[in-house]
Point group: C2
Chain length 209, copies 2
Amino acid sequence: MKKVSPKTIGRLSLYRFQLDNMRQSGVVRVFSHELASAANCSAAQVRRDLMSIAYTGTPVHGYQVAELIDGLDKFLDDPLGRNVALVGVGHLGRAIMAYLQGRRPNLTITAAFDVNENKTNRIIDGCRCYPIEQLNSIIKEKNILVGILAVPVGAAQDVADQLVDAGVKGLLNFAPVRLVVPHDVFIEDVDLTVCLEKVAYFSRLRSGM
Amino acid sequence: MKKVSPKTIGRLSLYRFQLDNMRQSGVVRVFSHELASAANCSAAQVRRDLMSIAYTGTPVHGYQVAELIDGLDKFLDDPLGRNVALVGVGHLGRAIMAYLQGRRPNLTITAAFDVNENKTNRIIDGCRCYPIEQLNSIIKEKNILVGILAVPVGAAQDVADQLVDAGVKGLLNFAPVRLVVPHDVFIEDVDLTVCLEKVAYFSRLRSGM
DNA sequence: AAGTGTGAACCTCTTCACAGCA
DNA sequence: TGCTGTGAAGAGGTTCACACTT
């Protein structure tokens, strides 16, 4: 299988999301240009991206929504399902839990960790919350490969180290630090400050300075 | 002034953040390769990005941290400061407020909006929270150009319309929808599901399938 | 000697345009 | 006819490499 870029993976995930919506609205077939406008990109882009996965549509009739979703599932999802760990059950952590709750059946947060004893050893948004001391053992036990860091800056690198030690291979990081990890660990940084400053900059441009 | 890409703007913001840290640690001069490793990119990239702003360093001695920060401030910030509106004071909204609190002096959330009456008409994280009905008038009054959408999917497009109507030119959107807005409005989407699926996909690859 | 600024090469991603098919 | 799949062209972003500076 050929290598597929993170950008394409991101869009494939987005297409699937839009397709799920369409299916729920009873849409059966879809054209590349329709998907494109739903996902905010060009039709050529959609077709190009779909080349990465096996499924191919038919001229005139476009793509079968259900089959295309199937194809995307096969390509994107681990057939065994995938457990995710969340570290940091503050506002951000809880937002993430609520957000992901039931959205993707085989990508579920199965363990949350926090240092605060008020939060540990209970169930929040359907997910068990453990004290951070148990991180290593639980991650190994549940065979978790993906970790979400929703902790304060100061704790981020330390937690990342612990996660990587326990075997995690991908991190979604919300703390404003560039984490240092082995090369075989994939990191996706979401830096709210950077995002907001970008918006601020361009909104200033758009408003005619 | 030449056009600068969103990617570069994002990195400039990141450099500034790292430089702020350095300055606080008493660092006075910095080389492009040091900034690069702090920001996780190449030294050439740093130098190329810095071409966009006025400030230029000196060979052998590199960049003066304080002066470079100044240059970035001049380039990125609105001299008048910039007010930001947040819509949706749930977990995500509160996380964002807490996160941005005091981080960037000229980019402050000066108004929050929510439909829930328990949240409105009080001050949360130092920011006044208004009922959504007052959105239009407050945005205009405070001359707000940037809006953050931390509302449920169903409400997102409607809120976006209201914000745009009131004169907002940039949106940071956390709802999983492609918003429809006029071309002169800049949108930055942060889709947590997409981010997480990207991480999941690549962590699976990294773990040897 | 060591680091910057930058033209040019390189590489990646996106769009074009068209053959082929239902 | 109208849409897909895709080679080829085009744009955009990143790195190279080196003249220039202190």
